[in-house]
């Protein structure tokens, strides 16, 4: 009670029930005249649509963190002129498929060996240990990502 009495003494220093003047406004019910707003000052003067296929893997990372950039490696396929890039797919198989390269596949988990591909140049890292038998010079694209630029030769 004692503390409360103390507070009541300097109550009017905390609250102004009657203000002398409104020098700012938080909102306004009537909007200002729009006719004088120029084209440039509009937040988005036109509708932006993504160029090309919006479902395609993104070229850029959405979030840039220094030192954590994902390198984009070139993936050269035998009989194909233009090298492809390893995009932000879960694995090499997905990345190749997204760029129109058809590979045989079955389990997509590394145990059947259906997607065996010859690795001519480069190095890959396995995301999970492949269970299928892999001969020397072969990789399983369904469970690996490139560590360096790659040169591949498709089977068949």
């Amino acid at each position: 009670m004692l503390a409360m009495n103390d507070k009541t003494d300097d109550l009017d220093s905390d609250f102004h029930l009657e203000d002398d003047a409104i020098d700012h406004q938080d909102f306004q019910l009537e909007s200002p005249d729009v006719s004088d707003v120029s084209e440039e000052s509009l937040p988005q003067p036109e509708l932006y649509l993504p160029l090309g296929n919006p479902e395609a893997p993104q070229e850029e990372q959405q979030l840039e963190i220094q030192g954590f950039e994902k390198p984009v490696y070139a993936v050269q396929i035998d009989d194909m002129k233009e090298p492809l890039a390893f995009h932000f797919a879960n694995n090499l198989l997905e990345s190749l498929e997204a760029q129109g390269v058809q590979l045989p596949y079955q389990c997509r988990e590394g145990y059947c060996g259906g997607c065996r591909t010859d690795l001519i140049e480069g190095e890959v890292a396995y995301l999970q240990e492949p269970m299928a038998w892999i001969n020397e010079g072969e990789i399983l694209p369904c469970c690996c990502v490139p560590k360096t630029p790659l040169k591949l030769k498709l089977k068949g």
Binding site: P104, Q106, Y111, C112, G114, R116, E129, A132, W133, G156
Partner: protein, 376 residues
């Protein structure tokens, strides 16, 4: 020499070859000579499923409405698969367990064989659900010449090995008089029989199953017999794993480190193995002809199926380091891959993509009359 259920000898488990070493004593899996077999066991166990989990009530209606030549295709494939899994459900155990020398491989063989018995049970589940007289289907398996002809080439390597190993374990190496016949038993010859057996099992699981798989998935592409396709999908997932198992055995032998003699045998048998592949591919093509004798089904005919057999034969040969024997380079049935993917194998209908379930759940057909009693 004779088989011992618990070998009392003390020996270094890591120095044993896969087969024809010491008989296994302690089933221990803390360390392995080949950890791949331990991984295969774990994977196979994680795949566990039961046929009864798949609902086949729509398949019964679908089957009744199939034209006769499609009924023939469907039932013939089921009969053939029943035969193959009857063999696979017991033969790896009978033939390989008496001679295996590594605990992880022993357990892999048992796990592998066990999963084949699930497959056999699921054929019974399908047949029982789809037709009213299952006995007629099962009885035909042993009398149908198109099926028994192929049974012969599937089983002869197993039977040869089992017979040889029985003599070896009872009588040992050397010449023996058995039932008035002179039989030569040598370990080297038994290893050769073993190699050919595993190669023919590899062919069985790599090629022979896939003609039936293709037909089942072709039905399901038309939204027919989808429960059946669901089961076949689960079976295909298991078979892909078993195939990896035999490929590992063949490749471990080929390297010659496990058993130098097996390395030599691999080289000696090269041509013979290619012939086993060729024979199997030709038989499967004949089978395709028998399947489609009264007419093709939508999306699949004899020629495409034969090309598919050639395509997968080439693929399987390449997997064990052999050259292709057929000109076909492209997969003529690329849509099959989507059915063979394991990551979307789900059993419960509410989680699965069985369209009959989804179609039955929501009636999406609307007409203007449906809104006639609504007033705004």
């Amino acid at each position: 020499m004779a088989y011992q259920t618990f070998n009392r000898n003390t020996f270094d488990a890591f120095s044993q070859p896969m087969f024809f070493g010491e008989h296994v004593n302690v089933s221990r899996y803390d360390t392995q000579k080949y950890k791949i077999f331990e991984q295969l066991i774990e994977k196979q166990l994680s795949f566990f499923w039961r046929p009864e989990e798949v609902d086949l009530s729509t398949d019964r209606k679908d089957f009744a409405n199939l034209p006769d030549h499609e009924k023939h295709i469907f039932l013939s494939n089921l009969k053939y698969q029943t035969l193959l899994d009857s063999i696979q459900g017991r033969s790896p155990n009978v033939a390989l367990l008496p001679i295996v020398s590594l605990p992880e491989l022993e357990t892999w063989i048992e796990t592998w064989s066990f999963s084949e018995t699930i497959h056999s049970r699921s054929y019974t589940h399908i047949i029982r659900n789809v037709i009213s007289d299952p006995a007629s289907v099962f009885d035909d398996i042993v009398s149908n010449e198109y099926i028994t002809k192929r049974a012969e080439s599937v089983t002869k390597y197993y039977d040869d090995l089992i017979e040889g190993v029985t003599y070896y374990q009872n009588l040992g190496e050397g010449q023996h008089q058995i039932n008035g016949e002179t039989v030569d038993i040598s370990l080297r010859d038994l290893k050769r029989k073993l190699y050919l057996t595993v190669a023919s099992v590899n062919v069985l699981e790599a090629i022979r199953f896939y003609v039936s798989f293709a037909c089942s998935f072709a039905f399901a592409e038309r939204a027919k017999m989808e429960g059946n396709a669901k089961i076949i999908k689960l079976i295909a997932r298991d078979e892909a794993l078993h195939l990896t198992g035999t490929q590992h055995m063949l490749q471990i032998w080929a390297m010659g480190k496990d058993d130098p003699e097996m390395g030599e045998i691999t080289k000696e048998c090269r041509e013979e193995v290619i012939e086993i592949f060729r024979e199997a591919a030709e038989q499967e093509k004949e089978w395709a002809e028998y399947l489609f004798k009264d007419g093709s089904m939508i999306g699949l005919n004899k020629d495409i199926l034969c090309q598919y057999v050639e395509y997968i034969t080439n693929q399987r040969l390449a997997a064990i380091g052999l050259d292709s024997i057929f000109p076909t380079k492209q997969n003529p049935l690329p849509w099959i891959n989507a059915w063979l993917v394991s990551d979307n194998v789900q059993v419960a209908p509410q989680e699965a993509e069985i369209s009959s379930y989804l179609v039955g759940a929501i009636d999406s057909a609307l007409s203007l009359e449906d809104f006639s009693d609504i007033e705004l």
